[in-house]
């Protein structure tokens, strides 16, 4: 009889805890989904089109999910030029303007970039997320 009593009290404690965790997760998911939803509205960066005819992409905004392969240049006036390797594609240049200068960008880090192809036909980061 004593054993049955102890089990009942444990269930009473665990169930509310599980419910709380579930609510927290749900809230977090919802919050994240909202943020991603802002990048998801942009098409994936067309790497092959960029290589063939970058001028045709000029002014467009794309999301680019990729790993930082290298930092190609670092200009005080223009910012950093990254070599970003999208999934299953060769690296491509991405300009990280000076407003992101506080970001610690390192080789091997993966980011989701929101980029716009600028007047130099160079994809320029508008936003980025880890």
């Amino acid at each position: 009889m004593v054993r049955r009593t102890r089990n009942s009290s444990l269930v009473a404690l665990v169930l509310p805890l599980l419910a709380f965790v579930g609510v927290v997760v749900l809230v977090g998911y919802l919050l994240l989904s909202q943020e991603n939803a802002s990048f998801r509205s942009y098409p994936q960066f067309p790497v092959s089109d960029f290589l063939e005819n970058p001028a045709s992409l000029r002014g467009n905004t794309y999301q680019l999910d990729g790993e930082v392969a290298n930092v190609l240049a670092n200009s005080p006036s223009r910012g950093r030029l990254l070599a970003v390797r999208p999934q299953s594609a060769s690296p491509m240049p991405v300009l990280l303007p000076t407003q992101f200068q506080d970001w610690n960008i390192q080789k091997g880090q993966r980011y989701i970039f929101l980029v716009r192809v600028n007047f130099e036909n160079l994809p320029e980061v508008i936003e980025l997320k880890k």
Binding site: F50, P54, S75, E120
Partner: protein
């Protein structure tokens, strides 16, 4: 030897001046020289001597029983007639008779050349003359008696008999007295006439005796001299000994011979040909002079006659004793020389042996010591002689290769043969011939036909048997005719930039363009470019072999960017085409990157270079391309300014 300076240039290159060619060097080194009547005679080069000497060298030694018998007979005769051998006149006559018999038997020997027979006949003739002389002397004695009688008669006739003259003063008495006087005169005249006749006859007979004696002596003296100068020393001694046996009057002079030859009896006749001693033979002293003189007589015998030799010898010979001494001395000298020859041959000194044997042969060709020399020794000398002759022939023909061989053979055969000078001369001549050929080649390369022909002609003159001569001449002819063609081909290949073809015929083109500075410069540049191309291809092939196709391609691609690189080369294209399928993606990316860069599309160029780097991370071309583009796009990046790669 003051007269030596008057001698014209020696016939066989003997003199104090350095030798101009190896032939002269050989001749002076190897051949004895005689100066005769102001002419130079090289012993070995005198054909007559050489033929006789070689005949002697090829003949076996004269040691047959017949030869031995002959020498024994001659020796016996000499001993029989030796001075002081006969104790009495009877013994002297007996020895003379025996010697004459032996002389007749010696005449049967073939090698005697009938000299003993001649001597025998001369002696018989002299004996007959002596018989005649005796008869004449007997007549003279009878005439002397008759003369005495005639003188008595004359004396008697000159006497006046008082009884035979009538006394009184009558006419009859006076007539009788006149008749008696007349008769006396007549008798006196008859007696005187008879006496004169006898005296004249005696004088005539005495003259005949003198002439006979003179003729007999002269005949034998001539023979003795003639045998000496013809180097028949033994016969000369025999003639001398017979002379002394036949004429016991103690007359030792050679006056009869000299008068017979119509020569002055004492003083040297300046009109006679002068016989001088060769520089190598003219040893000091009387014996040496006599020896040299007799060698020259030997040579004179070969080229002239025995009579001429005898005439030349006459002024120098004064007495029979001298004749005998000279003959004995020569026999001894020749015997010694032959011993020296054997000694030299034992020590492999064949050159010295040859010289001494030639000297001994010339001096005493017919002496037993010379005749008895062993055949194997003579064959060694003959081999040396033949090799020497072949060497001279080779030098005359300018066959220096053969001459060098022969010099080596001679050096091996004769340890005392000094080949240094002729060998160096031969090598110098060969070098000179080869240098002329090189000059000809150089001239041909410059297109200088005149100089080419001159050099070839000089090479032919120097050494016409040069094995390289024909080959070079043929090549040069081909070169000269192909010169224009080669230059034309070079121009075409330069225009096509076919450096490989130029390289493959570079020798021909270098020779052709040698005289054309502009073409030569173009050719040199082309060859330098080809060398670079070959360097690049070698590196590419090596990377390819190691499986580094991207690196190999990149090497080729980098090189093609260099100005003036001969990327038209077929081999370059072949290697590149071989690599193409394996590096297509990478190559395409690099090329597209380059195109974009040229069009000023920096972002696109970067994209392609990054793609290329993705395929081949170590790509130098991609890295350099990116740096170039980044410098344009990010000029204020301090790191890009200083580094060539990132």
């Amino acid at each position: 030897m003051g007269q030596k300076e008057e001698i014209p240039l020696p016939e066989f290159g003997v003199g104090n001046t350095p030798f101009d060619n190896p032939e002269e060097a050989i001749r002076a080194e190897d051949y004895e020289v005689l100066l005769l009547d102001k002419k130079v005679w090289s012993l070995m080069r005198t054909r007559t001597f050489r033929v006789r000497f070689e005949k002697y060298l090829n003949s076996p030694p004269a040691d047959s029983i017949q030869d031995q018998q002959y020498h024994k007979t001659v020796s016996q005769i000499t001993q029989l007639l030796a001075p002081g051998r006969a104790k009495s006149q009877f013994e002297a006559k007996r020895n003379l008779d025996q010697a004459l018999e032996l002389l007749q038997s010696a005449a049967a020997y073939p090698d005697d050349s009938n000299l003993c027979q001649t001597l025998y006949e001369a002696i018989r003739s002299i004996q007959q003359r002596n018989e005649e002389t005796k008869r004449l002397e007997k007549q003279i004695k009878q005439l002397e008696a008759e003369k005495n009688k005639a003188e008595w008669n004359l004396q008697m006739a000159a006497r006046t008999n008082p009884l035979s003259i009538p006394s009184g003063d009558s006419p009859a008495a006076r007539l009788a007295a006149e008749n008696a006087l007349l008769e006396k005169r007549m008798k006196l005249e008859q007696a005187q006439h008879r006496l004169e006749q006898i005296t004249q006859t005696i004088t005539n007979r005495k003259a005949e005796v003198q002439i006979n004696e003179f003729m007999a002596k002269g005949q034998l003296q001539s023979l003795a001299v003639q045998y000496l100068v013809t180097r028949r020393y033994q016969h000369s001694i025999l003639a001398n000994r017979f002379y002394r046996a036949l004429f016991t009057d103690g007359d030792n002079s050679l006056d009869a011979f000299k008068r017979n030859m119509r020569l002055p009896t004492h003083a040297l006749d300046p009109a006679m040909p002068r016989v001088e001693l060769g520089t190598q033979l003219g040893e000091g002293g009387e014996a040496g002079a006599m020896r040299g003189m007799l060698m020259n007589f030997g040579l004179q015998n070969l080229i002239g006659s025995a009579t001429a030799a005898a005439r030349a010898a006459a002024p120098m010979l004064q007495s029979l004793s001298q004749l005998d001494a000279v003959a004995q001395e020569m026999i001894r000298d020749v015997d010694e020389m032959v011993e020296v020859v054997r000694f030299h041959l034992e020590h492999k000194e064949v050159k010295s042996a040859t010289e001494r044997l030639a000297e001994a042969f010339l001096l005493g060709e017919f002496l037993p010591s010379v005749r008895l020399l062993e055949l194997e020794n003579k064959r060694l000398v003959l081999q040396y002689l033949r090799n020497s002759q072949q060497l001279l022939t080779a030098l005359e023909a300018k066959d220096y290769a053969r001459a060098e061989e022969l010099l080596t053979e001679l050096k091996t055969l004769a340890s005392d043969f000094d080949a240094t000078k002729p060998l160096s001369q031969v090598r110098l001549a060969k070098l000179s011939g080869n240098l002329q050929l090189e000059r000809a080649k150089a001239a041909a390369a410059k297109g200088d036909e005149t100089k080419t022909e001159e050099s070839i002609a000089a090479a032919v003159t120097n050494w016409h048997t040069n094995p390289e001569l024909e080959k070079t001449a043929t090549n040069l002819f081909a070169t000269s005719t192909d010169l224009a063609k080669a230059l034309e081909e070079l121009d075409q290949l330069l225009a096509r930039r076919d450096l490989r073809a130029i390289f493959e015929q570079k020798g021909r083109f270098l020779a052709a363009a040698h005289s054309d500075p502009e073409r030569a410069s173009q050719l040199e540049k082309a060859l330098q470019e080809f060398a670079k191309l070959e360097g690049v291809l070698t590196q590419a092939r090596e990377f390819q072999r190691m499986g580094e196709e991207f690196a190999a391609w990149e090497i080729l691609e980098s090189a093609s960017k260099v100005e003036g690189f001969p990327s038209e080369d077929a081999e370059y294209h072949r290697v590149r085409a071989e690599l193409a399928p394996r590096v297509a993606e990478f190559a395409s990316a690099i090329q597209r990157g380059g195109e974009s860069e040229r069009l000023g599309r920096g972002a696109q160029a970067l994209g392609w270079y990054l793609k290329a780097q993705g395929v081949y991370p170590a790509s130098r071309l991609a890295r350099e391309g990116m740096v170039r583009v980044l410098r344009e796009m990010f000029p204020d990046d301090p790191e890009l300014k200083t580094s060539s790669s990132k």
